[in-house]
Symmetry: C2
Subunit: 486 residues, 2 copies
Amino acid sequence: MTITTPHLGATGITDHKMEQWGFPTRYDNEYLPDPRSEFWFPNRETMDPDLRAEVILERIQTVMKYAYANSTFYRKKWDAAGLEPGDITSYEAFESVPVVTKQELRQSQLESAPYGDYLCVPDSEIYHIHGTSGTTGTPTVFAIGRGDWDTIANNHARIMWGMGIRPGDTVFVAAVFSLYLGSWGALAGAERLRCKVFPFGAGAPGMTARAVRWLAASKPAALYATPSYALRLAEVAEAENIDPREFGIKVMFFSGEPGASVPSVRSAIAKAFGATVIDCGTMAEMSPFMSASATAGTPDGMLLWQDIVYHEVCDPATYRTVPYGGEGTPVYTHLERTSQPMIRLASGDLTSWVMEDNPCGRTYPKFPRGVYGRIDDMLHIRGENVYPTEIDNVLRNISMYGGEHRIVVTRTGAMDEMLVQVEHTLDHPTADLVDRFAGDVGRELQAMIGLRVGVEAVAHHTFDRTDHKARRVDDRRNFSASGGQS
Amino acid sequence: MTITTPHLGATGITDHKMEQWGFPTRYDNEYLPDPRSEFWFPNRETMDPDLRAEVILERIQTVMKYAYANSTFYRKKWDAAGLEPGDITSYEAFESVPVVTKQELRQSQLESAPYGDYLCVPDSEIYHIHGTSGTTGTPTVFAIGRGDWDTIANNHARIMWGMGIRPGDTVFVAAVFSLYLGSWGALAGAERLRCKVFPFGAGAPGMTARAVRWLAASKPAALYATPSYALRLAEVAEAENIDPREFGIKVMFFSGEPGASVPSVRSAIAKAFGATVIDCGTMAEMSPFMSASATAGTPDGMLLWQDIVYHEVCDPATYRTVPYGGEGTPVYTHLERTSQPMIRLASGDLTSWVMEDNPCGRTYPKFPRGVYGRIDDMLHIRGENVYPTEIDNVLRNISMYGGEHRIVVTRTGAMDEMLVQVEHTLDHPTADLVDRFAGDVGRELQAMIGLRVGVEAVAHHTFDRTDHKARRVDDRRNFSASGGQS
């Protein structure tokens, strides 16, 4: 296999055999692959990545021409930058296209309410309205076109096929159906894949115990949830004397949080349910958000299905791509969306990428550790960079860890202090045993993150479990900390 | 217009012009009516009801033949009754077909888990799994086929067109997306009608306040919810100093509870939102459950769209239809479902029906007061029959009523006692004013239901508001009380 670099000059190749490759995208909704095939679209998934890159560059120009013609937002932005779509004849040129920030999208929606001046289709084409939860400021509205919904469903079906999910499998969706796009995207993919979908949802009081009973009764082949909620489902099942392995789930796929690529969280889920754990997901804005996803044959990390969404990993200062092997922030470009296409959307997330032979045979680059944080999630504590996911990972490897914790960051003068409140599972918590547990935790954390941090051991079930995404950081220094992954 | 009776002999008429009338049903998903038409299918909706009845009788035979050939459940049941589908050559004969009870469906699913032996399609055709919430015993699973989902969407789109909803309208769905089929049915209909759907959901903590903000921002043309939840949305909006009329909602359609046909609940909703109130809904098992629904031109009660689902109102002792004008229990028969077709499903609900000229021009019979109770909801108190909806209706006409109440029924020896706990909105609740309020309530209730009942006036917001269906009866006599409408 040829190992390519992310940079490539285009030569305008059109003589390719990429299945159902067109713009505007119109997939054949009756298509299913050969049942023996591991691939939905064998050519698109296993082709020479250099050739794929040339074709993608052509598509990038096409999408940019479309967005320039159909939206004031992109026309103004690119005019101000002194560029036009016809200039984008190389990846070097593409990297000079200014990124789109979430703040710009919000501003556009304030000025051109409700959908913003980056809506590129007539109002009558809008099919579904969703939005961000808006817990951190003005929410953003997603107006997704009828054709785009269809494209999202086809892409998710294709990627879920790659996870090993097949027509006729029961897919249990255990995440809230509301603004959050994760559950809707899993539903659309499962419907298109001709699965039996059980859209159970989550979030209302009493639903977790009921979900456990329905999982035991329906024995789904696949489950979609957030990683935090999967752990909660396991806890609730065990409290009712049900072994989650009895659900018989084969594949569990996750988005919404980094957890499914955090090694100890990943193994805790795999162990509790006896299932393959698949991480996927970019951002709600980027639906089909599963474009970064592991597969049955390459279950670690997330492959970047570049012919669906073009993924770059960039230096957050220059927004030029970093070489394979490097760390940076993902920047995403839609190749198949027409309603609110995102062209170089800055995620604010943090990852690294590699290009290597994948056991599953797909010739895509990979986020080997998934998306493991956000630039603004990183806690700077006395000169050290600390990621909440690292702490999660350390704690889950400690025996007697009770499954939940909180991270409290304070500042005294110029000095940052971090206190980790950690649940234990001691049956008879004498002062001595609790101290020993806290000491163990402190030593393990110091070994991993290179900092002495305060540790407070607290009783099991002190902290609320979440039905959705975990919020564990309480940063009292007046900075904000929020997650943005879909 | 000819006024027909529910009984009619069949003559095997096939020379009719009913649009897209076939079995198995396959609707044209691209079809939309002339924008100036009030009807989706003018012929099916306005045809001579006698002619329609003849065609429906043919279809009943077809569906029965299909169910007999494809399910052990119906074959056994009808063999035991000594009948076969070919015998059903008249409505008299059809009324001798034994009804299906929910208990039989549960039993079938226990013996032939998980979907019961009334599933008439191969497993691979199952598209969505939903179920009853199971708050009152073993839950029932709904396995809905791909073709049936499509049929449900087409039928709901047609009925929503009748409500005055049009392509391009924003439809806000404010009901939980989980087991409950109400929200899913509204979503499917709105999608097919080419509306912009905002599937917001309900039920999770904090969602009501967020729904209010999104309603203010998205200004939907139509809203779907349960009646109880609409009143809660209005309360929360008013608490945040938002007038619900500013949402600009034109049509509100409801199922799940009888409220939208209870005059005072109906007018409270209409007044709060300044919108037309439409009642619809039969049972979750009967999806497309909107087959009983009001229209823009006939907004009171519910028309029975007999060519979608055949509705009978029966004497609960004999399960023979009562004449138009009479009261009884609805019995429902699917004419367009293939996955789990219900043939004479006994609802346990209570209604009356009439056949009269409808202002909208549709030649359907009508439930003039909607579905106003359940046979087992009826409280027998000292020889009087009391329906909880009647109490609701009385209270909402009393000034200073705080919007919620509870009904506590106890037995002392052989004597039943009913206590109604009623919220007031007195700003300065002196003992005197509270007594006067309670006295007013007692007098009004006695005048309506013919019984002296205990009244306890309690402070505003004493009782929890619901995100879903109201549960107001606390029957401590060891009987059960539950609602079953979808």
